[in-house]
C-alpha cells in the first residue's frame, strides 16, 4: 500500500483520530490522538488490508522543553504487505500515561516495560508493569533528559564503611 492509501483508509475509518502525519526518507509516521490509540491499534492489526500483525518496537521519546513532553512511537510490520508503519501518540509532562497495546500485540509487553523503566510513562492496563532493567526500588527514570549522564549520587545503595 502506498502512503496515500494508508492515510486515506485511516482517515475514513477514524476521521477524528489521525491528527497529523510526517514523511521523511520514505517512511510514513502517523500521529494518533491518545484516547483513540486502542481502537486504531486494533484496526491496524485486524483490518484485512492492513494486517499489521508484527510488533517491531515501542519506544519512548523525551522532547524536553516542548509542551507535550513525552511521545510513544510504535513500529509495526505487516507480514502480508511486507511493509512497515510508524504511529505515535504525544503525552503531557505531568503523569504521562497511555493505554497499553499488549492486548492487541502481546509482544509489546517488554517494550512497554522498557519505556516505563526509562521514561516513567505508565501504560494503563499493562499486565506486568515492572521495571525492565533498573532495580525496582530505583526512583528515577534514566533516559529522561533531566537525568544526568553520570547518574545521581546515592540513587543506588552502595556498601557503607
Amino acid at each position: 500500500m502506498t502512503h496515500e492509501e494508508i492515510l486515506k483508509r485511516l482517515n475514513t475509518a477514524f476521521p477524528q483520530s489521525v491528527v497529523g502525519h510526517e514523511e521523511f526518507r520514505g517512511d510514513l509516521s502517523v500521529v494518533i490522538r491518545r484516547e483513540d490509540l486502542p481502537r486504531v491499534a486494533l484496526f491496524l492489526k485486524e483490518d484485512a488490508d492492513f494486517s499489521f500483525d508484527l510488533i517491531v518496537d515501542v519506544l519512548g521519546i523525551d522532547r524536553y522543553g516542548s509542551a507535550d513532553r513525552f511521545e510513544v512511537v510504535y513500529i509495526v510490520y505487516s507480514l502480508k504487505n511486507k511493509q512497515y508503519l510508524r504511529f505515535r501518540v504525544t503525552l503531557a509532562e505531568e503523569h504521562p500515561a497511555v493505554a497499553t497495546v499488549t492486548n492487541v500485540w502481546p509482544g509489546a509487553n517488554w517494550y512497554e516495560r522498557e519505556a516505563y523503566d526509562m521514561f516513567g510513562i505508565r501504560f494503563e492496563g499493562h499486565p506486568d508493569l515492572r521495571r525492565m532493567y533498573m532495580p525496582e526500588e530505583f526512583e528515577y527514570y534514566p533516559l529522561r533528559k533531566d537525568f544526568p549522564l553520570m547518574g545521581i549520587p546515592d540513587s543506588l545503595p552502595l556498601p557503607r564503611r
Binding site: R25, D27, D53, I61, I75, L79, N109
Partner: protein, 417 residues
C-alpha cells in the same frame, strides 16, 4: 490459613512426641511446587540471563526471565556522543557478530543523511555481514549442542569460527571488537589477502559443516533432546514479535534481506530457509541452512565485487583519509569539525533495520540537527526473542530449559543494551 496449618502440624508433632508414636505424616516433597533460580551466572544461560522457574516436580509450570544484569545504558551514552563515537559501542551489543551491528548502525545514519555509498563498500559490507552470520550461527549451533550434552560440536564449530575471526583480524585489525564501518564507507579497504583467506575458508566450510551435521543428526540423543521441545505455535510467534531464525522456524519466510532489501541483497541469489515444526530442532536446521546460504552469498559477492573507492566522497559527513588530513589544510579542518562537533544530519526521525544473525536489528534515530542524536533506540532481536521464553518453557521439563535458551540464542549484550 498458613498459620492454622502450621499450628495443626505442630500439635500433631507434639502429640506424636508425647505418644512416642513414629507415624508422623510429612507431605510428599514431589507434590509441592518449587521455585528454582537459574542464573545470572549459570553457564548455560549464555551470559547474565536470570530465569526464575516454578517447578512441579520436574515440569516447568511458569518461568520469568529477568534482564538487566548487563545494562550499560547505551541509549543514554548514544545521546551524549557523536555518531562516529558510537560505532565502537555497537561492537558490544551483539558481541558474536559485531561487524553486522557496525553495518546496521551506519546504514541508519546514512539513511538519515540520505548518503549514497560506493558500490564496492556495499559489497564489502555484505561480505562482512554474511561472515558475521556464519560465525554467529556456528556459535549458536555449537553452544546449543553443548547445552544438550554434545561437547565435540562446540570445539568443531569454534575451530571454523576462528578462521572467520582471522579474516576479521586481517581486514579490520581486530578479531572481536571490529568497529570496521564508517559513515559513508569503511575504515579500510578489502585486500587480496582477505579474498584468499575467505576462499580457503569457503572451500573447507561445506565439508566441515557436513561433518557437524552428520555428528548431530545421526545422534539419537541429540534428536530426542531437541524434537518437540520448546514448541511455540506460529500464531504465538507472530504475536510475540519474534524475528530471525525463530520466526522462520515457525514457517514464516520473513527475511529483511529479501523483504526490505538494503545494501546489494537484491542482486544476490539466495534462499530464505524456513521450517514448520517450530521446535528446537527446527531452529537448529534453519541456522544450519542459513549458514550454508551465507556461504553461497559470500562466493557470489566475491565474484561481483567491483573495484573503486570504499568511502563516499562527501567532505561534510565522511571522514577524510588520514594521509590527506596530515597534508591538506581543507581536510584537516573537515576532520577537526567531524571529530569534535560531529556530522550534523538534518532534523528528522528514521528507523533502519537489518537482518542480523539473531533477527531484526534496528536503530531508531531522532535527530535534532546537532552532532549528537537526540534519542537513539536500539531494537535488539535478542531482547524481543527472549520474551517468548516463558511460552516455550511452559509444560516442558527442567532439563529442556538449557536447550530452549540455546535455541533462542540470546546475547545479553544486546538484550540488555
Amino acid at each position: 490459613m498458613a498459620g492454622k496449618s502450621e499450628e495443626s502440624r505442630k500439635s500433631r508433632i507434639l502429640a506424636a512426641l508425647e505418644d512416642q508414636d513414629t507415624s508422623i505424616v510429612i507431605d510428599d516433597p514431589l507434590e509441592n511446587e518449587m521455585i528454582l533460580n537459574m542464573g545470572p551466572q549459570h553457564p548455560a544461560t549464555h551470559g547474565v540471563l536470570r530465569i526464575l522457574v516454578r517447578l512441579d516436580g520436574e515440569t516447568v509450570v511458569a518461568a520469568v526471565p529477568e534482564l538487566g544484569y548487563l545494562h550499560r545504558g547505551y541509549e543514554k551514552i548514544a545521546e551524549n556522543c557523536t555518531y562516529h563515537e558510537f560505532i565502537p559501542h555497537t561492537d558490544r551489543l551483539d558481541y558474536l557478530s559485531p561487524i553486522s551491528n557496525n553495518v546496521a548502525f551506519v546504514l541508519a545514519v546514512e539513511k538519515l543523511l540520505a548518503l549514497e555509498v560506493p558500490q564496492r563498500a556495499k559489497f564489502i559490507r555484505v561480505l562482512c555481514c554474511e561472515m558475521a552470520r556464519i560465525a554467529s550461527h556456528l556459535v549458536a549451533i555449537g553452544s546449543m549442542a553443548m547445552d544438550v550434552g554434545a561437547l565435540t560440536v562446540l570445539l568443531w564449530t569454534f575451530r571454523e569460527r576462528e578462521k572467520i575471526l582471522d579474516i576479521y583480524d586481517v581486514l579490520t585489525g581486530a578479531r572481536f571488537t571490529t568497529s570496521y564501518t564508517r559513515v559513508g564507507g569503511l575504515s579500510q579497504d578489502w585486500t587480496p589477502q582477505c579474498t584468499e583467506m575467505l576462499i580457503r575458508f569457503l572451500d573447507e566450510f561445506n565439508g566441515d559443516i557436513a561433518e557437524v551435521e552428520q555428528l548431530l543428526l545421526h545422534n539419537r540423543i541429540f534428536i530426542d533432546r531437541c524434537e518437540n521441545v520448546g514448541y511455540m505455535s506460529q500464531q504465538d510467534v507472530i504475536g510475540m514479535g519474534l524475528t530471525g531464525p525463530l520466526l522462520r522456524a515457525s514457517g514464516v519466510a520473513r527475511d529483511l534481506r529479501r523483504d526490505a532489501p538494503y545494501l546489494v541483497y537484491d542482486d544476490l541469489d539466495f534462499d530464505v530457509i524456513t521450517a514448520t515444526e517450530s521446535d528446537v530442532l527446527a531452529r537448529f536446521y534453519v541456522r544450519l541452512g542459513e549458514a550454508k546460504e551465507s556461504a553461497k552469498i559470500l562466493r557470489q559477492a566475491l565474484g561481483k565485487m567491483p573495484q573503486g573507492p570504499f568511502r563516499a566522497d562527501d567532505v561534510k559527513v565522511v571522514l577524510p583519509k588520514k594521509e590527506r588530513t596530515y597534508t591538506k589544510m581543507e581536510e584537516l579542518i573537515h576532520d577537526f569539525m567531524l571529530v569534535n562537533i560531529g556530522l550534523n544530519p538534518p532534523v528528522g526521525e528514521i528507523y533502519q533495520a537489518v537482518e542480523s544473525s539473531k533477527g531484526e536489528l534496528g536503530f531508531y534515530i531522532v535527530s535534532d540537527g546537532t552532532g549528537q542524536p537526540w534519542r537513539m533506540k536500539i531494537r535488539s532481536p535478542s531482547m524481543s526473542n527472549l520474551q517468548a521464553l516463558p511460552t516455550m518453557l511452559k509444560g516442558g521439563m527442567i532439563s529442556d530449559i538449557v536447550a530452549v535458551v540455546g535455541s533462542i540464542d540470546p546475547v545479553m549484550g544486546e538484550a540488555d543494551k
